[in-house]
Amino acid sequence: MKKDAADFLAKADALVNRCDRCGACLSVCPLYALSQREIASARGKISAVRGLLEGGLTTGSSIAKAFEFCLLCRACTEKCPSKIETDEVMVAARQYTAGKLGRKARHRLVAGLLGSNVLLSLVTGVLDLSRRAAMGRLSGTAGPLEPAGSHYREMLAGPASFPPLPAGPGAKMPQGGKIAYFRGCAMKIFFPAAAGATVNLLKKIAGVVVPAAVCCGSPHLAHGMLGQAMALARTNIERFGGAGLIVTDCASCGHSLKEYGHRLADDPRWADKAQEFSQKVMGLSEYLYHAGYRPGGRLPFKVTYHDPCHLGRGQGIKREPRELLRLAGNYVELPSADRCCGGAGTFHLDFPEEARRILNDKVADIAQTGAEVIVTECPACMMQLAKGEQQSGRFVVKYISQVL
């Protein structure tokens, strides 16, 4: 069942038709604030998709680039009176332009790497060696393995995307069964210590198994490789088949896994299994909080929290990490905590200058709180914030599992 590129665009038709062009998104879009060009805004991109659908525009490299110039951060969706999912529209539009014009070599490389467990373990091994070699240079405990030196490391930064969660009950607490930890690619490669801390935390509550996961598929979806994304989804569903509850500490993986039911809804062989799988997924802080975990003691530093787009707006998990950090002690709220940090999957590679400018605002906000530690729950944010740490030198970045 091969789909034509135009089919993907048609999928976005119902969404873009709901836009009445009021312009509310212009007041919150980080990229509109940066460039002040209509095409950077959600309204601009949605109108461009409509232009393609209705014959007012033709496909070309500039429109493909315009669709890439989106953080998929969902700030627009939250503001939109019609709650239009611009990220979902962009996923469809990128699938369309990719089908028409081809994919960027960089995106293909990232997808290829993440799609293959053999390559992934090779990379992990190499990084592991280099990490050992670089031990002495590492700042603090959690930071990325080394400063921004290795370019390809950045290319793996977690994905950035996705759509609303289908309505339905969240995952249920396990009844004495084991928790399956979904260790995403970025956690495995770049933040093994944080991933280890996650496992230790989970072990305080229940038994933990770590099935061999493949990539959640989110980077593929973001860059027009739907087929591969769905193949990965099916593999994960099989490998986690016996799990009672699946917990992940990666915001983007969590968002993507919770979407499997929605993404595979039209596939009669997989729809039910995918739905069942998605309903078992919980984010780390979401699980910890609802399982009744309460961190003891008091953190010896002032801490603040940055909302990953895929956790806060993506999964509605805003309260849980804050409550946990408050209990851990010495917590202060970050102004505009839910504004995208600019990491956003491969955005910072595709548009480094813009990503840097977005990060500058985030760094200024963090500095304003006087916090010594900024905590987050997403490896992509972690990498971006680590750049901010180097830039300002006034705070360190830690993974949430390492402070609770």
Partner: protein
């Protein structure tokens, strides 16, 4: 197509990055917040992002010499097509001219560039204890320049008036590029014609505002939002009327009918009692909590007499914001109810409010269409929204008839075609009905005197 020489001269005048010529950019400056079809697109020939009065004047001198249309634009949130370049030419975007030039605390005035967002101006003044009252629903994404061009209103008009009531003076670039200063900071001023008022609401057809002196008032110390549900729309209208008559003028009295309430409730996942036929959001402001208590109590008893079934007072600023979000999101929430929504913006004398609502219902029944009604009950300005599917054959013609009937009803009751959105493209067919031949002749003469070549926002109003 623009003359090459004009383009060359423009590029000399502007920073190259501020002149947009790529097709995709032109396409995205071909629309605004109005419900006009996106395709075929009314592309401009180029878009200029102005940074100073000198640049605006330079662009207009060139455009005047070459006879090229110039359409001013802020953030494109207008609802009647005012910033759509229907005859091509240059879109002159002023949203980056957004500085506050002077904050004059002694005279309670602020001087701003046109691109500043209404909400940003409000916040800036509020932090200093002063109040810029006009509050169009689009305040977060509309600019003062656009507010002046459309004489924007908002919910607080019932107590505080609309944009024109706060504009003291303007700097306007005329069609030929000369720079005119009007009005000023003197409260009393009868030196010549009141040109300031002439430009307010002129929809970019007479000149381009590059600076505005705006009046401020002290910020009310306390505010309270109240939401009241009624089992009948007539009861809700009566409650607003009686509240104003009693001397308790609310800072806002926003009404929504059942269709509108359910539309927003659907989006915000709220449960609404099916008996609720109408809701009003009142905002009261004053000097003290005691004063608010008094106003709230009076409103509660009046509402009860008019058949209210639920009276909710916002206890926190967050709750108050939540109630307001309900109202602010309504326009687009209603739009999502049907494939197409044709939103209107009629205004009637306040006393005629219940009557116009009755007539709107009669029109809806007669034509078998759903019409959602919401608006500013406190000042007689309503937004009837016709819900339809224009892809059904014959529907377009039917809707056109309904729109005509709505305008006719408003005019018969002593009302007007537009309360706060302007005429733009979408209502120009009805302008003679509203103003009469003499009225239209008069505005034509003014247009001709100020813009003899007709280059400023052609194809709008009349």
């Amino acid at each position: 197509m623009l003359d090459d020489k004009l383009v060359k001269e423009l590029l000399r005048l502007m920073h190259p990055g501020d002149v947009l010529r790529e097709d995709l950019d032109l396409f995205t400056y071909s629309y605004d917040g109005s419900h006009l079809p996106l395709v075929p697109a009314s592309r401009p020939d180029l878009v200029v992002k102005a940074r100073s009065t000198q640049q605006v004047a330079g662009v207009l001198r060139l455009a005047y010499r070459y006879g090229t249309p110039v359409v001013a634009r802020g953030l494109g949130s207008g609802r009647t097509g005012g910033s759509i370049p229907v005859e091509g030419g240059i879109v002159l975007c002023c949203d980056e001219m957004n500085r506050i030039i002077e904050f004059d605390e002694k005279n309670l005035m602020v001087t701003v560039e046109p691109g500043i967002r209404t909400m940003d101006l409000y916040n800036y003044c509020a932090r200093r204890g002063l109040f810029y009252p006009p509050d169009p629903s689009s305040a977060a994404h509309s600019t003062i320049g656009g507010n002046i061009a459309e004489n924007a209103g908002g919910a607080r008009a019932v107590k505080y008036g609309v944009t024109k009531d706060y504009v003291m003076g303007l700097e306007v670039v005329l069609a030929d590029g000369r720079v005119l200063q009007t009005g000023g900071k003197s409260v009393k001023n009868v030196t010549g014609y009141d040109l300031t008022r002439l430009f307010v609401g002129s929809e970019g057809t007479l000149g381009i505002v590059t600076k505005a002196v705006l009046k401020l008032i002290p910020l009310p110390k306390v505010r309270r939002t109240v939401q009241v549900m009624f089992s009948s729309l007539e009861g809700a209208c009566a409650a607003v009327e009686r509240s104003i008559q009693s001397g308790t003028v609310p800072a806002a009295a926003e009404i929504m009918d059942q269709t509108s309430i359910q539309a927003v409730a659907g989006f915000q996942r709220l449960e609404v009692d099916p008996d609720v036929e109408a809701a009003i959001i009142f905002e009261f402001d004053g000097d003290s909590e005691d004063n608010l208590d008094r106003q709230t109590k009076l409103a509660m008893s009046l509402c009860r007499e008019c058949g209210s079934i639920r009276f909710r007072v916002a206890m926190t600023p967050e709750e108050s914001e939540e109630l307001w979000n309900l109202r602010r999101g309504i326009s687009s929430a209603v739009a999502a109810l049907a494939p197409n929504r044709i939103g209107e913006d009629i205004s009637v004398p306040r006393a005629a409010f219940p009557e116009i609502v009755k007539r709107l219902r009669a029109i809806a029944t007669e034509y078998g269409l759903r019409i959602a009604v919401f608006g500013h009950a406190g000042d007689g300005n309503l937004h009837p929204s016709i819900l339809t599917d224009l892809s059904i054959p014959g529907e377009k013609e039917k809707v056109a008839k309904v729109v005509g009937e709505i305008f006719k009803a408003a005019l018969e009751l002593g009302g007007t075609l537009s309360g706060e959105h302007g005429i733009g493209i979408t209502k120009k067919d009805y302008i003679v009905d509203a103003l009469g031949e003499v009225g239209v002749d008069t505005i034509r003469s003014i247009k001709k005197a100020l813009d003899p070549k007709g280059i400023l926002n052609p194809g709008k109003i009349f």
